[in-house]
């Protein structure tokens, strides 16, 4: 079992604080590369920028198991220069525009500080105060002499922090998955060949995962991601029936989402492992949404795939919240499940 402590949290902090918007994942790629190099038997960066690492097991009849986590995060791209340090931007990935006004950002590889401002409330009528601010009226302001390049990426400037049992950070989706797969590669059980795919461009269409699966041609795959927990109270009282997942209940095992019916054999593996090892787990409410598993499952001749997520609140916003224990239990569940994988697992339906 991998140990879980300060070193793992430090790695997650480092991964969360850097900015790697879809299509510009270089900063995460660098850290992933450094972390896994001593442990991987083969590593390559492919044509899209995926980091693909293999660690071979020992013995006969080893299954090729692909573990996937996406390196990219939602963010912004600078698209036009309005002069005097003011820049227009577009969103990369699904962000609710209502999360943007009054937020701090970093722009470009130099992490130039900037802000997304808003018109003073004093200069608005009541009507305007209650409307959402459309994207085309928002700007990134780098200060009077600030400079950015059109095409620079930008992300929220939120700093990772701990609060009681929780983590408050941007980009928990999916740096927590990246950190998980790094740890699993470091502690790969020897019964399998572990194929770790640190993928690009998940947030804009699962692009990296598709080619990664085609490269590895695995026997089965597990997408490790972070899924929303909408476990907030219902305003008018009553039971919250659409929570998706809840913080604190452990790793969320997918059964069905908007793009994938996950492989029942792998679902069984995960929940039987959790039961046997007494690791808390939850089933994500079947419904919409999706992860890299959608792209992986439909690659090549079809790949048995399941998805496991660490729940987090406030997805694609400047600050998300996740529970340290949920992460720890996700790591433990996956590690224990990997050890139980054998050809028999998928020999029959």
């Amino acid at each position: 079992m991998p140990t879980f402590g300060n070193a793992q949290l430090k790695l997650l902090e480092k991964l969360c604080n850097i900015i790697a918007v879809s299509g510009d994942e270089g900063e995460v790629r660098k850290i992933v590369f450094e972390e896994i190099k001593p442990y991987a038997d083969e590593v390559k960066v492919d044509a899209l920028g995926n980091v693909l690492a293999t660690r071979f097991g020992r013995g006969r009849k080893r299954m090729r198991v692909m573990l996937d986590a996406h390196m990219d995060e939602v963010g912004f791209m600078i698209v036009a220069d309005d002069g005097d340090g003011i820049y227009r931007f577009e969103m990369v990935g699904g962000i609710d525009v209502r999360h943007l006004v009054g937020k701090q950002v970093f722009v470009g590889r130099e992490r130039t500080p900037g802000v997304i401002g808003g018109k003073p409330i004093h200069l608005m009528d009541t009507n305007e105060r209650t409307r959402k601010v459309p994207l085309d009226s928002l700007r990134i302001d780098l200060g009077l002499t600030g400079k950015a390049k059109v095409s620079d990426r930008a992300g929220f400037a939120t700093r990772f922090r701990r609060a009681g049992p929780s983590i408050l950070s941007k980009s928990i989706d999916d740096r927590i998955g990246v950190a998980t797969v790094i740890e699993l590669l470091k502690h790969a059980p020897s019964n399998i060949d572990l194929c770790a795919a640190f993928t690009v461009q998940e947030e804009i269409g699962l692009r990296g995962a598709k080619v990664a699966a085609q490269y590895f041609n695995p026997d089965l795959a597990i997408a490790v991601d972070s899924t929303p927990a909408n476990d907030l109270p219902v305003f008018e009282g009553g039971e919250n029936m659409t929570y998706n997942t809840k913080l604190g209940l452990g790793p969320a095992i997918y059964i069905a989402d908007g793009s994938t019916l996950h492989d029942p054999r792998l679902i069984r593996l995960l929940h039987e492992t959790a039961e046997a090892k007494k690791i808390p787990y939850q089933f994500r409410q079947p419904g919409g949404g999706g992860t890299d598993s959608g792209a992986i499952q439909r690659s090549l001749a079809g790949i048995p795939t399941v998805s496991v997520s660490v729940p987090h609140r406030y997805t694609h916003s400047p600050i998300s919240i996740a529970r340290v224990d949920d992460w720890k239990n996700t790591l433990n569940l996956l590690h224990a499940a990997l050890k139980r994988i054998s050809p028999a697992l998928i020999a029959t339906r």
């Binding site: 500080p113 907030l232 659409t242």
Partner: protein
Amino acid sequence: MADILPFLKSLISVSGLSGFEAPVAGLIEERWRPLVDEISTSRVGSLHGLKKGTSSRPGTKSEKKPRPSVMIAAHMDGIGMMVTKITEGFLHITNVGGIDVRVLPGAQVTVHASRGEELPAVIAMPSAKLLPESAGDGALSINFLLVDTGLTPREVSRKVRVGDLVSFANEPMELAGELISGHTLDNRASIAALTVCLEELQSKPHLWDVWAVATVQEEVSYLGAYGSAFELRPQVAIAVDGTFAKGPGANGWQTFPLGKGVGLCIGPNMHPFLHKKLKELAERLEIPWFLDVTPAHSGTDAYPMQTTAEGIPTALVEFPIRYMHTPVESVSMKDIQRAGRLLAEFIVSLELDFVETIVWE
């Protein structure tokens, strides 16, 4: 003169919401203490720093009048939020001062728990599925937003109670072109300007007494400025506050370019003679300035000071703030220096008979 930026950064790194200004008042007191002769706190919490003038009035002992005084005032309170209800560990909030609800979703905040702990938290925008249809899909009313500390419901109910404060918690950010950005620069930037003024006065003799005042509760009721003007009864009062900077979404006649000088306000809250004197002085010193007009109420401490006791001749010195009342208010450090210097030079220019020279036409 010492760089004022580190002090200003410290001022916007602490809370001090209207009515609960103690955290910031402590920082200001510490900074002002060596710059003034006496420092005290008013009955409602405003900070009074007295820097004595050098004049002693001529005349016989019985006729001797007290030294005239000028009050320079900037409010130290900031806007924020307060806990109204706790549901399953989530905090419902209301506003303290003029909050723009559109900046709240995803904002970093600190919950000042009544048991003395400062809890980092985030303002959550619940998904539409959890809200009544009346919530709409526009900017959500503050009633629908929740504060999440990341703690368990049990921990929250142990630590937090209704009435606890919630303040913005994003860190100060320096932007290119000598700008500082953060929450509560309205009006901590003016506290910095007052401090610049006090520092300038260390080497410049002035005849008048100077009351540097950091007022409370400007954002809700002007309580501090009313009380301090009444208690100190200055002959002349000057408020220092922010006005609107030009920037994305703000380009009307009420807005002024950032970093291009200080604003001298004219309107019913201001005595035209003081305005004229400040204007002449700015021109003589080549301090760039612009004319800001307020047709009725300036919305600053100038109003309470002007209407205190039998009335006090009042002026308003300003500098532009971009994105006012958002957590990313931005201000030019140059403008702050200019405002501080203009205040100091004005104080130095005050002759003993200045009040008698004040005329209307």
